[in-house]
Amino acid sequence: MSPLFLLLLVVMPVGFGLVSLALPKRLSWFLFFFVNILVLGVVFKLKSSTGLTWDLKFNLFSTGAVSLKLAVTHLGWFFLAISSVATILFSMFSLDFNDRKHATFAAPFWMILIGATNGIFLSQSWIAFFFAWELMSWTSLLIIGHGKTPSFKAGIYYYALSFFGTMAMMAGIWLLYHRTGSWDIATTTLRIAADFTTHRSFAMTVTALFAVGFLAKSALFPFHMWPQMAHAEAPDDFSAYLSGIMIKYGIYGLALFVIPVFAMTPKGTMKIISGVPWPMYALAWISAITSVIGTVMAIFTNDMKRLMAWSTVANVGYIGVALSTNSSLGYAAALFHTANHMIFKGSIFAALAAVKFRTGEREMHKLGGLAYVMPITFMTFLLGIIAAAGIPPLSGFNSKWMIFQALFEKKMVFVATVIFFSSTGAFLYLFRALHTVFLGQLSPRFRHVKEAPMLMSFSMIILMILMLIPGIFPGTVTGFFNNILASFGFAPIKTTLNSMTGSTASINGTVIAAVFGLAVLIVFIMFLLGARQHKVAMMDNYTCGEDPEDWKVGPERYHYGYDFYQPIKPLFAWMPLGAVEKLYETLRRSIERFGNLVSSISADGSRLGWTFVIGILIIIVTGVMK
């Protein structure tokens, strides 16, 4: 296997993207799909070539060589594989989604973004990582904005937070380089872990800087508000990618650098709380808070994409909690949930995109009853929310179960309680979305809505299968973990094709699925044995034969969807939700006010002399200052 394939994974999508800037929209979407097939092919060809390295060193600074190093690691390949599998489905979905009416100019940038994604997962030097990271940032901003003013407002919010994190990361990279003289990720990780004994504050600073970068990208507290804007306003087909894959970069970063650093830190150098170093315990609570915020906000949101974005925030919270347990079980759980979330949230967003494609509505209470006209979309959404709620026998349960096992192992029961709260809250908002969009009364406006187009339906069917497989056979995904765990010095986890062993119990996905199947079969037979049922139109009962129209009650008004959880709203009134947003807004406004102040000085010609005099004073003051 030639190392040039690694470069190809990055350069090829970028190149195709640049070429397709000049192509007509429709063609560029085909090219997009084509590129993804190629990427998937190359990724799976790379499967067995761990350690394959492509390195470009060039002397740039007087201080040393810059290295752009790409290599296949176990962790990187895992992320690469799941993301390219998901991407190809999303791209197949997009192919039909971007018809004449819906097409955006996103395809070229999306291709570049895929190149950047591959770059992030392949990078073994911080410079290469940073290059790919930045390339990903601004291309994704352009896609999220996609020429719409509200979308861009959301996108720039995302970008500002993300760029803030990127800048922190840049500082961290330099600090690392000055300390270790290397851009290499693995080397620096080892060195910085060792530094915790000798240069404690330095090591903390570096780790914190990287953590800020990764937290910002993965939307953990206090950066949790960007997904609800960006995911909601992005192109509908891109939201799946955004929520499925892009939010995982931060997770990848945490798993790549921050967590291994703490895991490798010599014992006794840091205060241990509940079996983990205190910064990780802090991360656990940050993640737990994130998941609670995500959950509560999702419960009271009326916009379906925004709701799912908050749900993504909550799920990232679970992943963060899992990572913070600093154990092989937790690390594996985080990876598992990452993979599952990629698929189930991807399919949820795909289903919502299909809904929006057919109806053009985003506010849930205006929809309703679409299950009766879009059954495949409905089934995708249903399986998606079952997986998201962590109900067996779908994939989400297995990873959530593993997260709990990791928490039990470290006796982090309070965090576990908080996570369980979010997990229960998930039923509330997920069911709300299911009901309000797909169940209840079908509005006459949407009576003639058709099922999503063929390719869209096809990719959704595959997504459904992908949600079922890890649920029934968790080993299909967990089988990859032991190599990854070993590469970071974690003990392996016990897992077979159908079962997983945790700290307090073991489960067998196949048995659960079989038992569930049996139970459903029993009930189905009972159902068949019962007397016949006949179909009745929905508005034909309950009003005892009266025509509901006489009371001015049409299906829309008969659909209970708006302000669904109003009765329990007072329960959450005490929570300072939105405080961070307010803080950011205040900050933004202060910058603007300060800027206006500064420019007002120069606008007024009569102050010109004064500025000069004040300037001289400032020079004097700064000159004599220590």
Partner: protein, 122 residues
């Protein structure tokens, strides 16, 4: 310290300060230009003063002063500097006045403060 140098120095300083005061307190372009002119004069005076020494002769060989010793000459460089600076000052002032006239023509005022949204240049 020599009396003359003292007087020159203080004079230069005060000229500069008067000029600066003018620049700081006015928004009328003409007065601003006047203030700048005063400052420039002050600083020129300062340069000339800096090269003064009592009994220094004009640095010109074979003239009416008939001094042969180079030691007794006043330093010629500052004078050259001042000449240059005066010329430059003249140029700047002339340009400034021309700009002022343009300003008066276009806005009917010689106030430096922006009064309204102004037209823009491509």
């Amino acid at each position: 310290m020599n009396n003359t140098i003292f007087i020159l120095g203080v004079g230069a300083f005060f000229l500069m300060m008067i000029g600066l005061y003018g620049v700081l307190t006015n928004r009328n372009v003409f007065r601003l230009i006047l203030g700048l002119g005063l400052m420039e004069t002050g600083v020129n005076l300062f340069i000339v003063g800096a090269s003064y020494w009592k009994g220094g002769k004009p640095p010109i060989l074979g003239t009416v002063f008939e001094t042969k010793a180079v030691d007794s000459y006043a330093d010629p460089v500052p004078q050259a500097l001042v000449l240059t600076s005066i010329v430059i000052g003249l140029g700047v002032t002339a340009l400034a006045l021309a700009l002022m006239v343009r300003l008066k023509e276009t806005t009917k005022s010689i106030d430096i403060i922006e009064t309204k949204e102004e037209e823009v240049n491509e």
